[in-house]
Symmetry: C2
């Protein structure tokens, strides 16, 4: 149903949290989990994935924790989501080994691939350093107008 997983949500929260504390020492998984009420063990595994994807640096040991591996302005939401949930395909038939039974006859695959690309673009342009809370109805309205015109 075109929904982000909880893990991706947690991951984005953690990345944003780390982006706001780049100055400090490394933060442990538990620190971040406690700050948002996330199950610590669950977040730990998510951070490990982000680490393996090269988005975080980790340090073991008693004073250890995680730190952003790159400038928060250069890390996109897309990278975070992909690192956690794997490559994102909007089409349902691309799930591992071969195609679904309709792949040869499916007439909407190509159009949807383009939609997929659009969504990727949107997510790639959102940097974790820029994720803010302002709802700003005016802008979304302008966006709607823009779409109408084009």
């Amino acid at each position: 149903m075109l929904k982000l997983t909880k893990k991706a949500d947690y991951g984005l929260m953690a990345m944003k949290h780390l982006a706001e504390h780049v100055d400090r020492e490394a933060l442990s998984a538990k620190d971040i989990a406690d700050a948002y009420g996330i199950p610590p063990q669950a977040l730990a595994k998510i951070l490990q994935r982000l680490m393996r994807a090269g988005l975080l640096e980790s340090q073991c040991g008693i004073k250890g924790g995680y730190r952003l591996a790159r400038d928060p302005h250069s890390i996109s939401a897309y990278e975070v989501i992909q690192a956690i949930d794997g490559p994102l395909f909007i089409t349902s038939c691309t799930t591992l080994r071969g195609e679904c039974g309709q792949s040869l006859r499916c007439t909407v695959r190509e159009p949807l691939r383009k939609v997929n690309q659009s969504i990727e673009e949107v997510l790639k342009r959102i940097r974790i350093a820029h994720m803010r809370e302002e709802p700003e109805m005016v802008e979304t309205k302008q966006l709607a107008d823009y779409v109408m015109i084009s």
Copy 2:
């Protein structure tokens, strides 16, 4: 993982198929299902949903079947998907009966709501009559730019 369900895929295929045969008589669920190798019973239920959503007109009986209720140029992919899968939320905590445990502290909900809106716009711009044509990447790119700024 941000994927469309198979049902939505089937629904889009069926709608596109019907859009290409507006002239003819009503097509039965089985006709369409056979044309694409879709399980007939599954497609039948999907078409019923599209019917209830007002996107299709149905006729019972031996010469019955389905027909588009509106001009195929006016029906968006978004409408089809929503009719089948229900309202689409990119955030994971909107799943019915209250919020997830993190809703109060979640810092990425609002930013993601904007992403959600962007995706909606993209899907609303795609009409089933035009699914073969290019969704115009330039515009979606500008749209993505727009989202980033806000």
